[in-house]
């Protein structure tokens, strides 16, 4: 089944990232999940990892916006479907308060359209809830080291999204030529390695471009994504 593919060079996390260089300080994780049993299980799973611990778990988006900023987590795991305030809206709000925090969206259903809405709203990656614990840990480490969730599907959605905005908005939200080129290649099935070879650049450069794409995406569409999500819920 589909797993988030990330662009991160897997050998090491960048040394400048907070907490990543210190073996002893565990990384702080916050969890937002409305089902009690699942929430409990996730907390236990996270705490079972040697390098992570759960600083707080919230039952709703409203609580998350209120409580999480005090705990200063490194990563937030966010359920996409929450009662009342959706995970997407909550993501957008938390990103506004804590721009440095990494947010991973948890979804029970593998639906790239929904995931893309979350990415637009400011999420840094996504995870299927049924992910194996080992993969969960890898994903947490990956997002903290600046990995970008990019599949051919998401690349296409990103291109579409920017093309639609180009009709209405100013240049600040436009993709550069190189960025668009990389996205096109990803959408045709190229891996980051192959893109680096084809364009004769390093993999890091490719990843940097992709991070910049996401930064632009977040700036230009955070609030719109929330509105579109709400609209998409009504048939």
């Amino acid at each position: 089944m589909m797993q988030p593919s990330t662009t991160k060079d897997e050998k090491s996390a960048p040394a400048n990232h907070p907490g990543a260089s210190s073996a002893k300080s565990r990384l702080r994780v916050a969890l937002v999940e409305d089902q009690p049993k699942v929430r409990e299980s996730w907390v236990r799973l996270i705490n079972s990892f040697p390098d992570f611990y759960c600083v707080c778990s919230c039952v709703s988006g409203e609580e998350a916006v209120r409580v999480i900023p005090q705990h200063q987590p490194n990563v937030i795991l966010m359920d996409i479907f929450l009662p009342r305030m959706s995970g997407i809206e909550c993501t957008a709000r938390l990103k506004a308060i804590l721009p440095q925090v990494q947010i991973l969206i948890l979804t029970a259903m593998d639906d790239q359209e929904l995931v893309f809405l979350a990415l637009e709203a400011g999420a840094d990656g996504y995870l299927l809830k049924r992910t194996k614990p080992s993969e969960l840990r890898a994903a947490l480490l990956d997002v903290l080291s600046g990995g970008v969730p990019m599949t051919s599907q998401i690349a296409r959605l990103v291109i579409d999204s920017f093309r639609q905005k180009a009709k209405t908005k100013d240049e600040s939200s436009e993709l550069s030529l190189r960025e668009e080129q990389i996205l096109e290649l990803i959408s045709q099935g190229y891996s980051n390695k192959m893109i680096a070879d084809k364009l004769e650049v390093s993999i890091d450069t490719v990843c940097t471009h992709l991070r910049r794409v996401f930064a632009k995406l977040h700036v230009s569409s955070r609030t719109e994504a929330v509105v579109r999500y709400i609209a998409s819920k009504t048939l």
Binding site: M2, K37, M109, Q112, R130, R156
Partner: protein, 524 residues
């Protein structure tokens, strides 16, 4: 006798009119009026009128089978002044007369002359030929072309504004064999009581209709002078009745358009109903998707997560841990199957773009553990077209089957997945660079190829496999899609009708859909 048809003895007439506009009701002036009329005509007549002579000859039934212009006079053949038995002011008198044109006779010339004191409307066979409101002038109609063999009806609606009233009339018909027919104003005319229906076209007089009364001979008092002017009416032609003017044509046209309108209304109603059904179906699909997700999906996910927790707290090499791991794997498998069903059922993921996106995502994940590089060749256009549920599902199944075959048999290193629109066809093609095969060497019934072809043909599409040993394999599915152009009234029905695959569309109803969701579950 008058000469010079159409010459206006205008001066006298104008003088009369100046002196006598509508004053006849004043009886005491009547004699003076007649005197003046006679006087002016006598004094100012331009030599063409010799009054007394004319009067002397006026009565003579002298007209033979000729009509050279030299001897011709408009007063020739006129009958007596006739009217109803009683005369009174503001009286309408309906005069009726039928005549017969013999069979096999050819009318060479027919001239109708009349005037009425004071006004008339002349009808022949119910058709209005003209009107007149000047008793001092004669009105001459050429009715040659109106008289076919058979009985014809003359009808004159005459009106007397006041005092004296009368009508003089003559119809002179010349036939090709030299004979002639004359109809004059005389007591053979009938007076039709007011209120009688369709009297103008009646071929026979009713007994109740009294005969007309001759009130004075031509030239006799009180109309003892002759007409001053002659109004020659241009030759009358039979009314041409075009086929679209005929009653039967108009009636059939009317009923035809009525039928067309009724049928269209019925179709519109059916369409609206169909759209309503479609909309309900979509809503139902959305509801099923939501139930799956919110209930089953969430609970299964909960099971997996809890299973993982239990598993992680057991010793590494315990048998129970392995078993729980197996359970979790199974549950994950169920969840991913459910994802596929949900995708197929979810009406919000019906678009061509969603389809492309899903298939590509599937292929990418599918090939990831195999080491086969998957390339995508996609159509950037036509992204918002809608695929129906059966089509979506069938294509997904077919693509999955094909990808399976590639991994199992082809030994390929690269695969190209192509999704394109070509001339109203949706084309999905999977090509590999693997070993290929000889189609003739395939054992029938032992592969999924027949199955795929069957699925495609059910949707009106085709499945085409081309392969040669050592040259890879290309599997192409192509399905014609109908144009999803919205009709003008689409706002009436709210829902957007999905693009339907060819023949399957006709039989598709809401009943067909629900079981297919469960069918889908069996297939996965």
């Amino acid at each position: 006798m008058w000469k010079g048809v159409g010459v206006t003895l205008g001066y006298g007439a104008e003088a009369d009119l100046m002196l006598w506009p509508e004053t006849k009701s004043r009886v005491f002036l009547n004699t003076l009026w007649l005197f003046l009329r006679g006087g002016t005509v006598a004094c100012l007549g331009i030599g063409v009128c010799i009054g007394s002579h004319a009067m002397a000859l006026a009565d003579g039934p002298e007209i033979g089978p000729q009509a050279p212009d030299t001897d011709y006079s408009p007063t020739n053949g006129l009958g007596s002044w006739i009217w109803a038995a009683k005369t009174y002011d503001r009286q309408t008198c309906q005069l009726w007369r039928a005549f017969d044109i013999p069979e096999q006779s050819v009318v060479t010339h027919a001239r109708l002359v009349l005037t009425v004191d004071n006004e008339f409307t002349l009808y022949l066979d119910g058709r209005e030929l003209g009107r007149g409101a000047e008793w001092r002038e004669l009105f001459i109609y050429d009715v040659t072309h109106l008289l076919s063999p058979g009985v014809h009806t003359l009808a004159i609606k005459a009106y007397n504004s006041s005092f004296l009233a009368g009508m003089i009339f003559c119809l002179h018909v010349d036939f090709g064999d030299g004979t002639m027919l004359e109809v004059k104003s005389d007591s053979s005319w009938r007076i039709v009581p007011e209120g009688t229906k369709r009297w103008m076209t009646k071929k026979k007089a009713a007994k109740a209709w009294p005969q007309a009364t001759a009130v004075a001979p031509l030239g006799g008092a009180p109309w003892w002078i002759n007409p001053q002017n002659v109004n020659l009416i241009p030759m009358l032609q039979p009314i041409k009745v075009y086929f679209w003017q005929t009653g039967w044509f108009q009636i059939s046209l009317l009923s035809l358009s009525g039928a067309v309108i009724l049928i269209s209304l019925k179709l519109v109603a059916q369409l609206a109903l169909h759209r309503k059904e479609q909309w309900l179906l979509q809503r139902e699909r959305a509801r099923i998707a939501m139930d799956f997700h919110d209930d089953l999906g969430a609970r299964m996910t909960g099971l997996v997560v809890r299973g993982e927790v239990v598993q992680s707290e057991l010793p590494e090499d315990s048998e129970t841990r392995r078993q729980i791991d197996g359970l979790c794997e199974e549950a994950r498998g169920i969840l991913s199957t459910m994802d596929e069903i949900l995708w197929a059922v979810n009406p919000k993921r019906d678009s061509f773009r969603d389809f492309t996106s899903y298939i590509c995502g599937y292929a990418q994940e599918f090939f990831k553990p195999t080491g086969i590089q998957c390339w995508f060749d996609l159509d950037p256009a036509a992204s918002s077209a809608v695929l129906s549920l059966p089509l979506k599902r069938a294509l997904l199944m077919a693509v999955k089957e094909t990808l399976n075959n590639v991994v199992k048999h082809s030994r390929a290193t690269e695969v190209v997945l192509q999704i394109k629109w070509q001339a109203r066809k949706l084309v999905v093609a999977i090509s590999d660079n693997g070993a290929g095969f000889d189609k003739t060497s395939l054992r029938p019934g032992r592969n999924g190829l027949a199955n795929m072809a069957q699925r495609m043909s059910e949707l009106g599409g085709t499945c085409c496999i081309t392969s040669e040993p050592g040259k890879g394999c290309r599997t192409e599915f192509s399905i014609p899609l109908k144009d999803a152009r919205r009709p003008a009234w689409h706002w009436m029905t709210r829902s957007d009708r999905p693009l339907q695959p060819g023949p399957a569309a006709a039989t598709e109803t809401s009943d067909d859909h629900i079981p297919q969701i469960h069918d889908a579950a069996k297939h996965y």
